[in-house]
Subunit: 264 residues, 2 copies
């Protein structure tokens, strides 16, 4: 079960007010844990949109879904209701979540208002995950053959919960593959001239994904970063396979264009 | 036809190597042109994924789709083939696109290699859009009742093409609505205490979307930005409606918490 989808929930992402750094942060972490992010989907704070985005991920065969956003106390924090709707679950006060919230507010002497209590209303059968930074607990919902994690949208909270609680759990689900990579920086070779060389390197290094990233022009010379990525049984092995492909391309480039690329 | 979807194509986004700034840049522009971005979807450099993401957008009723990425000369630049596959169109050399590419390379005295020629292979019936920054032309495909724009993934190229060619065209399709906004910054009021006040403001300002963004703790006080957004027939009117809602919240906050928010 190495296929993962990230569903980012929040109107602020759809109006371009906020750049989706949560998704790239999570995608990087999941990749390095050996997972493969199949899609990142951004939807509005809307029950139907949340439910349908999860339903579509499952229909694509994804069994590990991570959502961000929409766990707070305000009217438009509706991720948990959307997830409940998707699976036909009742929403109910989760006593464990309520205890976590009471502990946060109780220590400040604040009363448990309806808005605060709302953050403890969970889909039946879901479990809360403590939030070491903020107040709203995250949520884990085990499915028959999969899992949905709902993490907060505030980056510091999302990152802390992922690192402390989620990473280890999903590593077990993701299986034994490890991710490796290598980079090559080329100056003065346009991407269109590089294309046939990439084909040669790919043919020789099956299993290594080779991607060129044009970075524009620097000091009158086109600048390209080529990124080699690979999954293997150990990180060391994956890095080695990626580096070998990088080295193959470096040799071809040097021979054809008399340019020495830098491997990083 | 104000509903828009953004489809970002590129494995680098799914492994978290690159943050999707293209999508937030486009979402901001589209919103300010009066459009509503319903979804942002990130998919891999894969023909099936590209085709299915477009198919799904259309099934959701979206008639204005903008893709980014996958227009270059290398093997994994396959956006145009994916779009062709989605609509059952043949791929063929587009003479207009070929002329644009010849002009770019001809001026440098470079020959038209297969990799360079590849960038002129378009779905039948599509039109190229000149790329004032890079080489690969963008693409516009008119549908019976909609349009697909395929823009490059390099941000400077994507932005230049959107600003020069796409913005004006889609403004006509998006209709007459304009976007407006206002912001309120609150210190020392936790979001859970703010929630009932947001409900009051929403009830009084129907049509204005009110969203609170917790920004963490600053100098021992919780910091929240509240963003008010609205569509109306003129930008002036939309801004006014948003500002009125912001002013309503400011009064409620001052009365209840004795905190004076700053409106920006």
């Amino acid at each position: 079960m190495s296929q993962v989808e990230i569903i980012s929930i929040g109107n602020e992402l759809l109006i371009g007010k906020v750049t989706n750094t949560n998704a790239s942060w999570l995608a990087d972490k999941i990749t390095r844990l050996g997972g493969r992010v199949r899609r990142i989907v951004v939807v509005a704070d809307d029950l139907g949109e949340i439910a349908s985005s999860i339903r579509e991920a499952i229909a694509r065969g994804t069994r590990l879904i991570i959502t961000t956003g929409g766990l707070g106390p305000t009217y438009d924090d509706m991720t948990l209701s959307g997830i409940a709707g998707c699976f036909g679950l009742e929403m109910e006060v989760n006593e464990e979540a309520l205890d976590l919230i009471k502990a946060k507010y109780g220590s400040k002497g604040w009363e448990l208002t309806p808005a605060r209590r709302k953050m403890a209303v969970f889909p039946r059968g879901a479990r809360p995950i403590p939030n070491p930074v903020g107040t709203a607990p995250a949520m884990k919902l085990e499915l028959k053959d999969g899992v949905v994690y709902a993490l907060p949208g505030v980056p510091s909270e999302m990152e802390a919960i992922f690192d402390e609680y989620v990473a280890k759990e999903i590593k077990e689900r993701l299986g034994r593959m490890s991710f490796g990579e290598a980079r090559l920086v080329l100056r003065g070779v346009p991407e269109s001239s590089l294309a046939p060389l990439l084909d040669e390197v790919r043919a020789k290094n099956v299993g290594v994904y080779v991607k060129s990233h044009p970075k524009g022009v620097e000091a009158g010379q086109s600048l390209i970063e080529v990124h080699f990525t690979c999954y293997s049984t150990t990180e060391e092995d994956a890095n080695k396979l990626a580096s070998e492909a990088a080295s193959d391309l470096a040799k071809l480039v040097e021979k054809k264009f008399n340019v020495r690329p830098s491997i990083t």
